[in-house]
């Protein structure tokens, strides 16, 4: 072995060792990241999954003609003006005949969610032959009962720390022992908007709000950003001014989102007097925020198109614009689209600027257009999380799950588009 080989051999050991350390270092990082991710997802999931089911109580409901239609008119108005709370109360008293004090009756009636009165009315409106008959129904329980049912160990704590007092506990245990309680799928969560009662609150309102907001953002930011990116990259002369623009656009991408919210408040609400809490304003603000992201993505993907394609087109006598629209832009489209989708998922998860323009209100109706007051998914989560009442914690976690699902779907779509349309040359 000659001398050089000897030297190389001894240094090789050291080089190999540092390579090994580096590999372990990276691996540790990834494992730690995965670990934290798993912890977060598990904790959100275990809390959130409780919101997908709700407690129902089985009762024999007698659709009493004396209450629903005492004068036997048979009109919708009569049905609508009837007091279905009494129907439910009677059903409960029928099951618990020993309850007779007025205050106890009130507490007992509170076992059932107030939304069920509406449901009974709808049943009657659909089929009025039900009047006078008795039917076994699963009625949604109030959130207090729901919380107790989901955490049965709560029954064992002392009365003063418990959500329900001893007499309520007795009723609850009787229902439980008689197998009159069950968990049913919480459809309300997916179909309704916010509510003061956790068992009646749903994510749909804010999901629609988010949908309208992100749609406005997409319609506004995509064409403007792509046009700006193409202009800056392909058509604008390279001088001090365009350099200055570039630096500013890059800076804009790093501006905290709440600043954009303040801008929206000052301009869109105070100067232009657009409706408060409306998805159109949210969309405008988020479009401003997303613009730099898409511009940067557009420019990067335009840059990645090989110069030979440009030369080929220019050499044939294509104008600059023809070169861009016929060749460069189609080739860079997957990259632009990926950037756009990532920008959109950023916008979907953005909360701070929406707080500034009033999309943080308590809104019970599912928005139907860009101008209706609404919230957005992340804001709804924030609202639920900051509500003290029992039952909202689970809703917040379930909301996070829904939001994460949307984000994962959007990001996988971005990956799919990139994989499908990227061309090799």
């Amino acid at each position: 072995m000659n001398k050089n080989t000897q030297i190389i051999k001894s240094s090789l050991l050291k080089r190999k060792r540092s390579e090994k350390y580096f590999k372990y270092f990276g691996l540790t990082g990834i494992i730690a990241a995965l670990l934290f991710l798993t912890i977060i997802i598990t904790s959100i999931f275990t809390t959130g999954k409780k919101a997908f089911k709700q407690t129902a109580i089985k009762l024999e409901i007698f659709f009493d003609p004396k209450i629903i239609d005492p004068e036997n008119k048979g009109t919708e108005e009569t049905y609508k003006s009837a007091n279905y709370k009494i129907v439910i109360k009677n059903a409960l008293l029928n099951y618990f005949p020993s309850v007779n004090k007025r205050i106890d009756i009130r507490d007992l009636t509170n076992f059932i969610s107030s939304s069920e009165e509406e449901r009974l009315l709808e049943m009657i409106l659909k089929d009025n032959t039900l009047i006078g008959t008795t039917k076994e129904l699963w009625l949604t329980a109030s959130s207090t009962i729901d919380v107790i049912h989901k955490n049965l160990e709560m029954l064992n704590i002392t009365e003063k720390d418990r959500l329900i007092d001893n007499k309520e506990k007795k009723w609850f245990t009787k229902l439980l022992d008689d197998e009159k309680l069950k968990f049913q799928f919480n459809k309300t969560f997916f179909t309704s908007a916010d509510s003061t009662e956790p068992e009646q609150a749903g994510i749909w309102g804010s999901a629609m709000g988010s949908f309208f907001t992100v749609l406005v953002t997409l319609i506004l930011s995509f064409p403007i950003a792509v046009a700006a990116g193409v202009f800056l990259e392909e058509l604008a002369p390279k001088n001090k001014f365009t350099d200055f623009l570039e630096v500013n656009i890059n800076n804009l991408a790093a501006v905290p989102s709440i600043i954009f919210g303040l801008l929206g408040l000052a301009i869109f609400l105070n100067v232009m007097h657009l409706p408060r809490s409306a998805p159109i304003v949210g969309g405008l603000v988020l479009a401003l925020m997303t613009l730099p992201t898409i511009i940067i993505a557009t420019r990067a993907s335009l840059k990645a198109v090989p110069p030979s394609i440009r030369e080929a087109a220019i050499g044939l006598g294509a104008t600059k614009l023809q070169t861009v629209t016929h060749h460069v832009l189609p080739l860079s489209f997957p990259g632009i689209l990926t950037g756009t989708i990532i920008g959109m998922s950023q916008a979907l998860g953005e909360t701070a600027p929406l707080l500034m323009i009033g999309m943080v209100a308590f809104i019970v109706d599912v928005p139907g257009s860009f101008l209706d007051a609404s919230t957005a998914l992340p804001v709804q989560i924030y609202l639920w999380k900051s509500t003290a009442a029992r039952g909202f914690v689970e809703l917040a976690a379930a909301g996070v799950l829904i939001l994460l699902t949307f984000l994962i779907l959007m990001n996988s779509f971005a990956v799919y588009i990139r994989k499908k349309y990227e061309k090799k040359w």
Binding site: E311, A312, A313, I314, L316, W425
Partner: protein, 261 residues
């Protein structure tokens, strides 16, 4: 007729007068003056970085696309200065086609590749006419037989030599007067090179061709005139036969005999 070295006087197509090119402050070409004959192949040879490609790109104002590049002097095509302010480079490039070093077909179908030039310039008034142009161009580029059954396949699916002939077909579809070729065979194997060289012999009957090449043998095989560039200067220009048999300058001799380069 090639390498006949005949003294038959031919018409001058391109005339370069005191052309200098600057990249920012660096001078890449220094007062180049010579004439290029019509319907002949003129090859530009010289070591890497001598400015031959830069000169070629002056002839269709391809250098305009580089911001830092400045061209001084005059290039006359049919006695008109192509750097005059009233000349539109887009129109010029339709008259002066170009084939690049690396085959660069568009990632579109073979048909669309050839049809692109005629359709942006509106050269065909109907679909049939366009198809006619495409097919003749492919025939002239000697590619038709190989691709006639797969015109809708992408241009990038062809082999390297076929891609380069597709690029030639694309260039001649616009019916230019001049074709510039920037080392068209440097990425091709010897067989594909031979086919392209035969094609050049065929094309020169209708077009004026200027070719940059690194291969002295290729210059000797395909061109009637040769210009030798070195360090941004035009050292020697004359008929190919003369340059290769009796070079006037030592630098030329050193280069063609392989001592420098």
């Amino acid at each position: 007729m090639k390498k006949s070295g005949n003294l038959m006087s031919s018409k001058i197509k391109i005339s370069s007068k005191d052309v200098s090119v600057f990249y920012s402050q660096n001078k890449a070409l220094n007062n180049i003056t010579f004439d290029i004959d019509e319907k002949k192949v003129t090859s530009l040879i010289g070591p890497s970085g001598c400015g031959k490609s830069t000169f070629l790109r002056c002839l269709n104002r391809m250098n305009d696309t580089i911001d830092i590049c400045k061209v001084k002097g005059k290039v006359l095509i049919d006695n008109e200065d192509i750097y005059a302010p009233n000349v539109d480079p887009v129109l010029l490039r339709a008259r002066v086609g170009m084939v690049f070093q690396k085959p660069n077909p568009f990632p579109k179908s073979i048909f669309d590749n050839v049809a692109y030039g005629p359709s942006i310039h509106g050269l065909a008034s109907s679909k049939d006419e366009l198809e006619n142009i495409v097919l003749t161009s492919l025939q002239r580029a000697g590619l038709y037989k190989e691709v006639k059954n797969r015109l809708s396949e992408t241009g990038t699916s062809l082999s390297g030599g076929q891609q380069q002939r597709l690029c030639i077909a694309r260039a001649i579809a616009v019916s230019p007067e001049i074709i510039l070729m920037d080392e068209p065979c440097s990425a091709l194997d010897p067989i594909a090179t031979a086919i392209v060289e035969e094609l050049i012999d065929e094309l020169v009957k209708n077009y004026t061709i200027v070719i940059v090449t690194h291969s002295m043998q290729q210059a000797a095989r395909v061109s009637q005139n040769t210009a030798f560039f070195h360090m941004g200067n035009l050292i020697e220009f004359g008929s190919t036969q003369k340059i290769f048999s009796t070079p006037q300058f030592k630098q030329t001799q050193d280069y063609i005999t392989g001592k420098i380069g």
